[in-house]
Amino acid sequence: MAETKWVPNIRQIAKEMHERGFTGITPGHRLCAGCVAGTIVRQVMMAARKPVVVINATGCLEVATTIFPYTAWQVPWAHNAFENAAAVASGVERAQAKLIRDKRFEGDPDIEMDYDIVVFGGDGGTYDIGLQALSGALERGHKFMYVLYDNEAYMNTGIQRSGSTPFGAWTTTTPAGKVIPGKPVGKKPLVDIIAAHRIPYVATVSPYYWNDALVKFRKGFEADGPVFIRAFSTCNRGWYNAPEESIAISRLAVETCVFPLYEVVNGVEWRLSPPSLAIAKNPQKKKPVEEYLKTQRRFRHMFKPENRWMIKRFQEMVDYEWELLLERVGLKG
């Protein structure tokens, strides 16, 4: 699997969505201007092949898209807690299987049981507090697509560090202090951990590369088992980037190899996606991380003369991960 015949025709999709008055998530939600979490949700909806049911972990996306009596969701949506979205999805998925098997609601004109299940979780809800529930659900093999919108900190509670916060970054719990400037350690290699579950499909996406993202989300919907997709998700509040640069930063992250685009099929078959493959084949295209770091003031302290070593260290860490990835996709040596 992990192949699809589907080719996104963006005009066609946009037209259809416009005609149906449906984009999955409506304008008027309260995500910050420039937040790409909403963009990621839309891209998922654009790739949908049938009705979608959304399970949302506690976090910015959940809080900013609902407040009773309002909701921005045009699809069935449920939120329970921070750390259990994958467990909730497990229950939904087994219930759906049982009710369809029993033909329980067949013939009820008010109920539709044929849908795909998508989970949206932030990095806090995925790398950290929700990792156990996610791991359990992946092991059990439930069919749902887990989309991590990775903004590299606990944004909803005010920008605290997470297992995804990169080395050196300022957060409110890793302040850029005089003695300890930012986060002293790097990121948890979450995609490796997830891929090690040998699930059918794992991928990374960046919203700038919408075509790549849509195809991957579509593969995710079509896969026969659990799917995990890590989406690069800028947060101008927490990263201190210019809101209008969110999409440009989504591109820079790939071009600097801070956020390479790739797929892992069945946990063993690693493949680079076209934008990252182009860099692998033509290494001088790889931009220095400094270009990426300077777009976000969460890294500002790293540019002070006494902290310049941090940029070097950041580059080394990115290079190390990139080399590791090249080895895995068989493009090294």
């Binding site: 609902t66 999805a89 539709e112």
Partner: protein, 412 residues
């Protein structure tokens, strides 16, 4: 109770009786995680399913937190969900207990009462479920394996009743009930199936704006709704009021379903809320919860033979708390004893003691109430100790200075 149906007598322990009830109750999804003394429930259900005797999905989750989360997911997807746990498992569910109740998901859960850690202990007391008493779940306590079976079946009807829509916990004492073999009457499969039916998600009215329409309250692309949105000071309180009101409507429903079940099974337990024993003409009443109250009945008989007018009242539903019924029963008596199998550290007594005493406050002639905290961590409560307590309660009015809360069975 004349025309009850032919039943099968089986030797089952309490856990097995609960598993049988789940097997017969058209449960769609079971999500559970093992913990002594609940494990047998999960094991039997797994056996039933693996042998094709029970048609449910089973999710063997990686924690109790996920067990309840998955049950909630199944419930909001339109299915009937069942889970079971004890002690530390229930404690781990704590966050989700409130969410399940507040979102009005009619999940049913068996709680096999076990002492909470630390020190780690696998035996019975009620500290686990008493700790969950404010979570918004209906709590029904069983006296023996038979009642655990009966209560579990009724729980689905109560939880899903349109006037209630609240999750239900069915309690049974760890080991004392869960692991004790008993002759249990098992109803025929089709009779239970007819009694509980299949889960029908409740319907909600659409806002007028959308026209006259009632839609199913579930994840359903036909009528998409958002379940579990952010809800701040402008609506949260009203939503809590709805929960409070639902709990107020629950006693009638519990009594009604209890009665209906009695008609098919021939078994009833008081009015469904309270199970009084020789209480009508009693001078002193002993109130309590769970299997100890079975022993208490024998002790009451013994005391009666000695001419001592003692009766007992077993509380079946701690939530909703039957305050009116307790007032009625207590209004004629001269003294009351309340047995608590859990402590509320720093409080004046155990949870049941506090609630009973509070219920009696509006009586003109308030009888003295003595509290007893007993049996923590599975400490035995033998008949002689119950007898001593009853005699003490009987003489309570003559010695008003006596300390109000005792700890029978504890070493000095």
């Amino acid at each position: 109770m004349a025309k009850s149906v032919q039943q099968r007598m089986m030797s089952l322990n309490g856990d097995e009786a609960v598993a049988w009830a789940a097997r017969q109750s058209n449960v769609d999804v079971v999500a559970a995680f093992p913990i002594t003394p609940q494990t047998i429930i999960m094991e039997r259900i797994a056996e039933f399913i693996h042998d094709g005797l029970m048609d449910s999905e089973i999710i063997r989750v990686e924690s109790e937190h996920s067990a309840l989360s998955a049950s909630w997911g199944a419930s909001i997807a339109g299915a009937r969900a069942f889970t079971a746990t004890a002690a530390n498992g229930l404690a781990l569910m704590w966050e989700i207990l409130y969410i399940v109740a507040s979102s009005r998901a009619p999940v049913v859960m068996a709680v096999v009462n076990r002492a909470l850690s630390a020190p780690i202990n696998i035996h019975c007391d009620h500290s686990d479920s008493m700790g969950a008493r404010d979570s918004g779940w209906i709590q029904i306590y069983s006296e023996d394996a038979q009642e655990a079976y009966d209560n579990t079946i009724q729980a689905f009807r109560i939880a899903e009743h349109e006037n209630v829509q609240l999750p239900v916990m069915v309690m049974l004492d760890g080991f004392l009930i869960s692991h004790t073999m008993q002759n249990v009457q098992i109803l025929p499969e089709d009779v239970v199936s007819d009694f509980v039916g299949y889960r029908k998600p409740s319907r909600i009215k659409l806002p007028e704006f959308y026209g006259e329409k009632e839609i199913p309250l579930m994840l359903n692309p036909k009528y998409p709704i958002s379940i579990g949105p952010l809800d701040l000071y402008d609506y949260y309180f009203e939503h809590k009021m709805q929960q409070i009101e639902a709990m107020k409507r629950a006693p009638e429903v519990i009594k009604e379903i209890h009665k209906e079940f009695a008609e098919i099974s021939g078994r009833s337990y008081g009015d469904g809320l309270l199970d009084p024993y020789r209480a009508e003409d009693a001078d002193a009443l002993i109130m309590g919860i769970g299997s100890t109250m079975g022993t208490m009945k024998a002790v009451v008989d013994e005391l009666r033979e000695e001419g001592k007018k003692v009766g007992s009242v077993r509380i079946r539903t701690f939530r909703p708390f039957p305050a009116d019924e307790i007032r009625k029963l207590a209004s004629g008596v001269s003294s009351l004893g309340v047995l608590d199998r859990s402590a509320s550290f720093g409080a004046e007594g155990g949870p049941l003691f506090m609630e009973v005493r509070s219920a009696l406050y509006s009586l003109k002639d308030r009888p003295p109430v003595l509290g007893y905290i007993y049996g923590l961590g599975g400490r035995d409560m033998p008949p002689r100790l119950l007898k001593k307590i009853a005699e003490e309660v009987l003489s309570a009015r003559e010695e008003p200075e006596r300390p109000r809360v005792g700890y029978p069975g504890v070493r000095e």
